[in-house]
């Protein structure tokens, strides 16, 4: 069994051991077992491309988003986000040219990240650019920015350029990569953070009667401001709306527990694809949907990715993995 293919909860014997040493061993196995960096590379490419697109869109109206006379003047930002150390390089930018140049830095870093060029630097600058934009323009942010943030932290921590990257090609190292603890830590951070996102999203929905009644999905379908695909044809099919609503609710609530066992992981990933592509197509939030699916890649084992991308890859699994 490969490191990527076996259940990534780690050492089964340690998990079954309720003594403190058993807990420590389980923690150690969970976080510090070397992992194949291939899933991280796939996440890097997708994240870089989505961030590049987001940066281009920020640039479409950079003065309004980040300028002193934009949607939200800098001195009013605290009203939307009052965390200390809530920094942004746009706070120092006054002229339109400086603002565009800084947005351009994020765009360039995102493209370098996608290509895997100077990857560690590109990941950190991409994260800085994302945080700068989100902290300066909190009136314009939404779930896409939250998700890109969680991905970029993982990519900044791990060896995101260890495979499928220009860095690797330029170093003459081919396409394979060795398993590493840093790759595992980065993937674990993304996995756990994603579980937190789904858990709180699901628990928040439990406060609303429309989710219990199974009618919440209608609220999204009938909202013309979100709608990009007219699904009001669901009106005569209330039981179908009930089923779709309840599936979404219980999938979100169950995700944090049931994404880990191999028995249920595929089903939960399949529903993730349906939910996020559905939101993307029907509610015009394709970037958010793709970012969430990118985060879900952290749960796709490397050998599965290798099978999926076999036509594009000729290299064998990395050393250290049978």
């Amino acid at each position: 069994m490969t490191a990527s293919g076996r259940d990534r909860l780690g050492n089964a014997a340690a998990i079954g051991d309720a003594r403190p040493q058993g807990w420590l061993a389980a923690w150690d196995a969970f976080w510090f077992t070397p992992a194949d960096p291939l899933p991280l590379a796939a996440i890097r490419i997708a994240t870089g491309l989505i961030l590049a697109w987001s940066s281009l869109v920020w640039l479409c109206d950079a003065d309004a988003f980040f300028g002193p006379r934009g949607w939200l003047p800098a001195e009013q930002v605290w009203r939307m986000n009052d965390q200390p150390w809530q920094w942004s390089w746009y706070f120092a930018a006054i002229s339109p040219n400086t603002i565009r140049a800084l947005a351009g830095v994020t765009l360039a870093a995102a493209l370098m990240l996608a290509a895997g060029l100077a990857t560690p630097l590109a990941a950190v600058v991409s994260l800085a650019g994302l945080v700068s934009a989100a902290n300066r323009a909190p009136l314009n942010t939404f779930g896409l920015d939250d998700t890109l943030g969680l991905l970029l932290v993982g990519l900044s921590v791990g060896p995101a350029g260890a495979c499928w990257s220009l860095d690797r090609l330029l170093a003459g190292q081919g396409r394979g990569a060795t398993p590493s603890v840093r790759a595992n830590v980065a993937l674990r951070i993304i996995q756990v953070h994603l579980c937190v996102v789904y858990l709180f999203s699901g628990c928040g929905k439990l406060l609303g009667e429309s989710w219990w009644e199974g009618t919440a999905l209608w609220g999204a379908v009938a909202n013309a401001q979100y709608r990009t695909l007219d699904l009001t044809g669901l009106a005569p099919h209330p039981l179908l709306v009930n089923a779709l609503t309840l599936t979404t609710l219980w999938w979100e609530i169950g995700y944090a527990a049931l994404i880990w066992p191999r028995l249920t992981r595929r089903a939960f990933l399949a529903v993730a694809v349906a939910v996020h592509l559905g939101i993307g197509l029907a509610m015009g939030m394709m970037e958010f949907g793709l970012a969430m699916l990118t985060a879900n890649l952290a749960f796709v084992p490397a050998d599965t990715m290798r099978r999926l991308f076999r036509p594009l890859m000729s290299s064998p699994p990395p050393p250290g993995l049978p």
């Binding site: 109206d61 949607w71 809530q86 323009a137 603890v181 929905k205 990009t228």
Partner: protein, 196 residues
């Protein structure tokens, strides 16, 4: 199982201990913000959040993750009517599905209307509630007004919040949707470098 070659690449104990502390602190900064808000939230979660706030702010972790919760509600926009220096008027809306392209740009502008809406009580709310809320939304609405004035070259702009009626399935089937709810947000003109 990993072979010996992979196992030898494991980190030494001291490094794993330091990394474990960093991981615990980071995960606390991930988990505590959604516990601490938006309401309802406990005092305990808000107390635990305090020492984590610098990290939460620095890495942009202050999220509630309450997507479409507790209930998906009606959509909102901000309608504007601008008076140009020659006395003619122009009107529009934020967001504008016809003009705001690509869709991500529309969505970023849509968030302006949605986030301001969260601060504006309904027009029929008690006067005291409306007055108190105005202190929170007025600075943000002034930013919107300034943006419209800058884009249009207008001398004054009138803004109103539109809550788009959310029809139920029966109304859609019968073709009888209800009316949108309008809340005035005031008129603004440039004065001393900013909209007043």
């Amino acid at each position: 199982m990993l072979d010996d070659h992979a196992i030898t690449r494991r980190w030494p104990m001291a490094l794993r201990a330091v990394a474990s502390i960093a991981i615990v602190v980071y995960l606390a900064a991930v988990v505590v913000p959604p516990l601490a808000g938006p309401p309802p939230a406990s005092r305990l979660a808000n107390l635990v959040l305090q020492p984590l706030r610098p990290l939460v702010g620095a890495v942009y972790l202050g999220h509630g993750y309450r997507f479409f919760a507790p209930n998906p509600g009606p959509g909102h926009s901000i309608r504007w009517v601008a008076t140009l220096p020659d006395g003619t008027t122009r009107s529009g809306a934020i967001p504008d599905a016809a003009a705001d392209w690509p869709r991500l740009l529309y969505h970023r502008r849509f968030m302006v209307a949605e986030k301001i809406d969260a601060l504006v009580p309904p027009a029929d709310a008690p006067a005291e509630v409306r007055q108190r809320a105005k202190a929170a939304w007025l600075p943000l609405v002034k930013g919107v007004a300034g943006n419209v004035l800058r884009h249009t070259g207008a001398t004054t702009v009138r803004l109103e919040r539109v809550e788009h009626y959310l029809p139920d399935p029966e109304e859609v089937t019968a073709g009888t949707p209800g009316a949108d709810a309008i809340t005035p947000l005031g008129s603004y003109a440039w004065a001393e470098g900013g909209p007043r």
